[in-house]
Amino acid sequence: MSRIRETFAALKHLGRGGFIPFITAGHPDVATTELLLSELAAVGADIIELGVPFSDPVADGEVIQRASERALRNGVTLRDALTCIARARQNIDVPIVLFSYFNPLLKFGEDRLAEEAKRAGVDAVLVTDLTPEEAQTWTEKLIQRGLDPIFLVAPTTSDDRLAQIAKQARGFIYAVSRAGVTGARDQLTSDAAALVKRVRAVTDLPVAVGFGVSTAEQVREVWRFADAAVVGSAIVSQIEKLGGSPDLTNRVGDFARSLLA
């Protein structure tokens, strides 16, 4: 059983929702990312998403765009992200999802990526701009090596497509809470709950909800209808604000913990 399935099984057993923080690899620098992975695991992350910086992040709002730019200015690569994970893996057991746009993976080589990601201790890969139609060989390569391909579904996704996507997906389904790019919003819309309900009608896979989830209140709200909440921009924004401060890791940890309060 994959580490992700075990995690969701355990959450179900405990009767609580999962917490999935997102950070960008190499933001503000690679050494800090490695510390943050351990810190987030320590404060209660059930799964961690690690973003690979990309020059043209069309699905991301300003906060994650800036984090990517910062990381790229530091010369951070996909290889660095994998190294980071491999090092953090020595201390933590929490599942890690590699979150990337397609081109850096394509350049790295799909076979090589699947192999090296597995070796580094990655559990799953989510490619923001890879739809199931274009992902078939890619999905097979991941599954062969015991990695879970994670797919996004959106409020605009038709029921037919939901079923298609669920067939290719493993681990969990990532439901985008609303049409739009990543980034904090004051309110969750009713779109998210409606979407999760439609997903549940076609698959038993757990459903995580992300995009715009930024407060403890919103996390609790997501838990009422989904299996886990993903918080990205709100955490990345803390990292940005604290950039360079000596206790960055602890304070980001405190913030993450406050989301679970």
């Binding site: 069309v58 699905a59 290889r79 350049k107 701009d129 739809t131 139609e133 996704t157 049409a179 790019v181």
Partner: protein
Amino acid sequence: MQKSRITRSEPDEHGHWGKFGGRYVPETLVAPLEELTKEFMRAREDTKFWRELNQLLRDYAGRPTPLFHAQRLTAHAGGAQIYFKREDLLHTGAHKINNALGQALLARRMQKQRVIAETGAGQHGVATATVCALFGLRCVIYMGAEDVRRQALNVFRMRLLGAEVVTVNAGARTLKDAINEALRDWVTNVHDTYYLLGSALGPHPYPLIVREFQSVIGREAREQILSASGRLPRALIACVGGGSNSIGLFHTFIGDEQVRLIGVEAGGRGDLLGEHATRFHSSAASGGGRVGVLQGTMSYVLQDANGQIATTHSVSAGLDYSAIGPEHAFLHDTGRAEYISASDAEALEGFELCAKLEGIIPALETSHAIMPAIRLTRELPKDDAIILNLSGRGDKDVQLVADLQRR
């Protein structure tokens, strides 16, 4: 490289030309792209749609455009006859209006009230602002800050036409960054917004839609050259940024095996990555010759060793883009079309030569094709002909060229 003789170039139902093209987008955009594909396929079979478009192309845009025999440039070159396809004479001053009108009709069929577009040189932005004024649609144009600076006249034109121009400060602040921002807008406002993409790139169905609406250039040109010279031209030549004017001229001729199709990329100011926009350039340091995925489509993409998209440089904003439309990638790999490049300096030389010899001030984008056309005709017998797509006029570039000449 596979060199099969192709006589047609049509994508499969998912928009793939061979391995190129396709649809690489965040999931939210899949549904609107499918909706657009369906509507376009319906419109394509609808004679009423084409009647309305053709009438607008004639009465509003000024089609057909002439095929002009550029005799003084021909004499200067001393080889085959050079003909200009005069897209610069169209309303708004470039071929971009062909596609803008077609897509505005699609937007109207889909009952979208808000239109967004990206622009590089500003010609597509002006064309979009124009058709939005004509149809009474709200219009938002995304434009990189660097392009806003070098194409100030077009920014003013768009505002006069009632469009909101949003300056994009991300990345290299050029066309690629404007497209990113337009995609982010679209993903957020899919319910009421039509994305009027301006070049033969992006996710399926855009490369196909733009090509269909621009193919009128080649259809007219083929008829005109046959009636002027009694036979097909030896070659067609056009500049290639994303590739809409060139594919528009080339497409009708793909089955005419004896007609060479030549695209001219922006050579910029050097061979190193970041100094040019020659996506097919395969020298090690250039960053070209690499297949990748950018902004929804698989094609040749300028990128570094880690798959980060490279910045580009060209004196012309309209050619300053890291990827090339997927159909061009297919025509390149099958050997049906050839791709060469012209530097900033050559483009300026062509710009001045065309102005002095023909009394036509071409856009800096178009100017890239002029010196290569001269070299090409010198290798050909005098009774042969070539057609150069005079894709746009250069009024927008006059200030920039004046600044460059002063330096």
